[in-house]
């Protein structure tokens, strides 16, 4: 059950992302060309509901199933890494039309070529781990 609940949540995520067409290379291109509200609507709705929910979690000091207060980890404060890393990520996102989740969901959807993209992403993460101390953060 402990493992199953994460697999089930993942299945739910994969279905939602596929049915909303957020795993589509074409939809990502449409987003970066500002020619449809679709992707902005998805992200905007998720963030708007997210902000309200996170506010309520903090206000009512809600706890998780293990009885711990729900805390959202704070991101590293460095703006250089956020900006530079973000730009590099964006270049890859527009080229492959897939951020990390959709890479894997697309494999399930039958786009096996995404396995090479995933291999590239693992490699990119590995190289970051090696050179990270030489980069501005």
């Amino acid at each position: 059950m402990k493992a199953l609940k994460f697999i089930l949540t993942g299945i739910f995520f994969g279905i939602v992302m596929t049915k909303s067409e957020a795993i589509s290379w074409y939809r990502i291109q449409e987003m970066f060309r500002f020619q449809s509200f679709h992707m902005f609507g998805i992200i905007g709705t998720a963030v708007a509901i997210g902000i309200i929910g996170v506010y309520l979690i903090k206000k009512y000091k809600l706890k998780d199933i293990e009885g711990q207060f729900i805390v959202i980890p704070t991101k590293d404060k460095g703006w250089k890494r956020a900006l530079l890393g973000g730009i590099i990520f964006g270049l890859g996102w527009a080229l492959t039309g897939a951020c990390p989740g959709p890479m894997f969901i697309n494999v399930g959807a039958g786009y096996l070529v995404m396995l090479l993209v995933i291999f590239g992403a693992v490699l990119g993460t590995y190289i970051y781990g090696i050179v990270k101390d030489k980069l501005p953060h």
Binding site: F6, I7, T9, G10, I11, F12, F13, G14, I15, M17, T18, K19, S20, W25, Y26, R27, R33, Q35, S36, G41, I42, I43, G44, T45, A46, I49, G50, D64, I72, K75, L83, G85, G86, I87, F89, G90, L91, G92, W93, A94, L95, G101, I105, G108, G110, V113, M114, L116, V117, F119, G120, A121, V122, T125, Y126, I127, Y128, G129, I130, K132
Partner: protein
């Protein structure tokens, strides 16, 4: 409209956006945080990268839940494609279809262009390099930025974190440069 008809058609943005927020809350309720790209670091660590590089020297087994989430998402993609979809063509905006045609990428009605996401393309030198490099940029960039779309754009913005806003602005700078300046050269 019958429920089955609604489920089989592409889901509207407000419905999908709501459900993605729910996924973030479900994971928070389970005592975890929504952040997909961390899995790449976990995979590196699980393959033994921690022996040489301190960045990968951590208790990756604590991240097993996220790998399970990953496995689930692959299954979800399969289930949605085979049991919850019709073969109706994607309704892409006409202007995007026209602009992509100018770049040299045809719209074929699928989720992803077969022109790029096919074994024919992957086994060409150019195709191999494009797919590998694209993935590389996503993997390198997400770890450098400290998160991807789920960690920064959804979780980070929901908790009103400034670094996440900067990262999302970065996502768009990179995305626009690729879309308008680099894609036309590559294809």
């Amino acid at each position: 409209m019958a429920i089955s008809e609604f489920l089989l058609a592409p889901w509207p943005w407000y419905f999908s956006g709501f459900l993605i927020a729910c996924i973030m809350f479900i994971l928070l309720f389970f005592g975890r945080t929504f952040g997909f790209s961390s899995n790449f670091r976990t995979i590196c660590a699980a393959c033994g990268a921690g022996k040489k590089t301190t960045f990968f020297d951590f208790e990756w087994k604590e991240q097993r839940w996220n790998l399970l989430f990953l496995v689930g998402s692959v299954i979800g993609g399969f289930v949605a494609t085979h049991f919850l979809s019709t073969d109706a063509a994607l309704k892409l905006s006409a202007s995007t279809i026209a602009q992509l045609k100018e770049v040299g990428i045809a719209f074929d009605g699928g989720l992803n262009p077969a022109q790029i996401f096919s074994f024919d393309f992957m086994f060409s030198v150019k195709g191999f390099l494009i797919l590998l490099l694209g993935g590389f940029l996503v993997g390198f960039g997400s770890r450098y930025a400290g998160g991807c779309t789920s960690g920064h754009a959804i979780t980070g913005l929901s908790s009103l974190q400034i670094p996440s806003l900067i990262a999302v602005i970065g996502f768009f700078i990179g995305g626009l440069v690729m879309t308008y300046f680099i894609l036309p050269i590559l294809f």
